[in-house]
Symmetry: C2
Subunit: 323 residues, 2 copies
């Protein structure tokens, strides 16, 4: 049955004294924020209240991975109420992957200290070529078996865009895929060099263990993954080239887009440009993913989005994995 929709409806977000985030909407009401003038038949809008599976029974062990493009970690931490700490308290994640930390090497040590109790393992990349640009981190409760920065063998590692940790039963890769840029200046680099290199690297790792790739993959895969497909055919992140590359290098190589697999026909954005108040009207993109090797897709309990968490132009996403 179709949801009742009201275009441009705003969600009021209330931040409590201790930083907790409360949606002011009735918990039972369906998620009705929808900016499409003519929503496609059969599409519904992802509602993290109603579209998440019930918690696993107590005797099923699970791990919760989260990913968030924070668009500048120092700025985010200044907004107390939205700090990673609050997210930890709410979500109780095991691993948090950050992109666009925009840290310099010299900031890392200080940030590490001030971060979360109980997450003593953290691994940071910074852009060597441009200060305050790009940068990723993996923050984990348990100590990984190994850590790798960058693609290792290639010449794509000057911008601190990738960090890999190895756990018992899988590799976890956290990537901030290069934006193709204004005028699509970097489109060619992105689709002919970066994407294939990342893909090969993943296939190489997969020989020993299943692989999970998360992060800002800077591509809205299909029309359902962007608010205005027609108007963005030549926009970075929705070109045919990038979408094709996403399929060729990742999906066709046996990596599963977990959110889409669990939620066919569901609109779930993870990014809204700061310009023109795009977030209020849900004019967004789905750019952030958890892709997993087919061999462990069966372990995916929940692939979800937290669109109400602000503080960045992206929102966090999560993956609950049975182990």
């Amino acid at each position: 049955s179709r949801l009742k929709r009201k275009a441009h409806q705003e969600i009021a977000v209330e931040v409590g004294a201790s930083g907790e985030v409360n949606l002011s909407r009735d918990q039972n009401e369906p998620w009705t924020v929808f900016a499409h003038k003519k929503p496609q038949k059969g599409w519904t809008v992802y509602n993290p209240r109603t579209m998440r599976p019930p918690p696993l029974s107590g005797d099923t062990k699970s791990v919760k991975l989260m990913s968030w493009n924070v668009n500048g970690l120092r700025a985010l931490l200044k907004l107390e109420g939205f700090s990673a700490l609050q997210l930890a308290q709410r979500e109780d994640f095991d691993v948090l992957c950050l992109q666009e930390t925009k840290l310099q090497e010299k900031d890392v040590e200080g940030i590490k200290q001030s971060l979360l109790e109980g997450y003593e393992n953290s691994f940071w990349t910074c852009s060597a070529s441009k200060l305050g640009y790009s940068g990723t981190a993996i923050i984990s409760r348990v100590e990984p078996l190994s850590v790798t920065y960058g693609l290792g063998v290639s010449d794509h590692d000057g911008e601190g865009r990738l960090v890999t940790v190895e756990f018992d039963t899988y590799y976890l890769l956290n990537a901030y895929v290069p934006n193709s840029g204004d005028g699509l200046k970097r489109l060619s680099y992105r689709v002919t060099e970066w994407d294939p290199s990342l893909s090969s690297y993943m296939k190489e790792l997969e020989k020993s263990k299943p692989v999970i790739l998360t992060g800002d993959l800077n591509c809205a895969h299909e029309e359902i993954d962007i608010y205005n497909p027609a108007g963005n055919r030549r926009s970075a992140g929705f070109t045919d080239e990038e979408r094709q590359s996403f399929e060729t290098n990742f999906l066709s190589k046996g990596f599963v887009d977990t959110f889409r697999e669990q939620h066919p026909g569901v609109v779930g954005y993870t990014y809204w440009g700061y310009r023109h108040g795009a977030r209020k009207t849900n004019r967004g993109w789905r750019l952030d993913y958890f892709l997993v090797s087919k061999s462990i897709f069966g372990k995916v309990h929940d692939s979800y989005i937290l669109p109400d968490v602000t503080g960045s132009d992206h929102c966090p996403i999560g993956l609950v994995l049975k182990i």
Copy 2:
């Protein structure tokens, strides 16, 4: 008699709904903000409430000139309550000279429109060499006889640091003198090229009419003009070279420092660096002046400072001239 002093006393400034500025202090209390640990004997701190002469009698005609380094006019105008408009309402000036407007040529027309009713004559300089840098303006009720931008004949005019207007009985020059910069990089240019050129230009004009120079002259002339003379002997604005240049090029050439002449032994700062809350503790400098040709010093009724006007790291100064 010595004033009672309390170091680091703070003045609370209240801004009313219509933008008026109210000091919260008792009107009868002397001005006691004083940051010197050991105030020099005989120095008192300028108090604009008690140290200004009584208004001129109704039959003496006068003109009020004001000067303010606004440190970015667009930023200032955003702070509604402290706009030049409020200053106009309080002070009823005839001419307002601004420095460090930091406007680009393309901003000027728009700003001109949005400015003050009754001040239809305004003349703007912008830095051609560096966008958003330097820049001056003279805003006047009456139309001047002529306007000149820069030093005219020299090669010092790329930065929009000088504008001259000619009135019936005097020339008014508004200058933003080059800061000698970190490491005193520009000290030599400043004292061997800019100051002498400005001085010659003034002497040239003086052949036909008395001259008034106002603006940010970027020099604290004597020890009394700076909160920590000993610690700033090699700071831009208080080097021996700049102080000597100030004397040689301006005072010795017959231009009178009107504030100092009227208030010997009085500490009156016009600038407080933003760093370390220098303004709260009155750790300031007197960098802004009205200098006048000796021939019209007799016409000076009041040379004053408005230290309670915020919105910039400098405060406005004023000159009331009998005409």
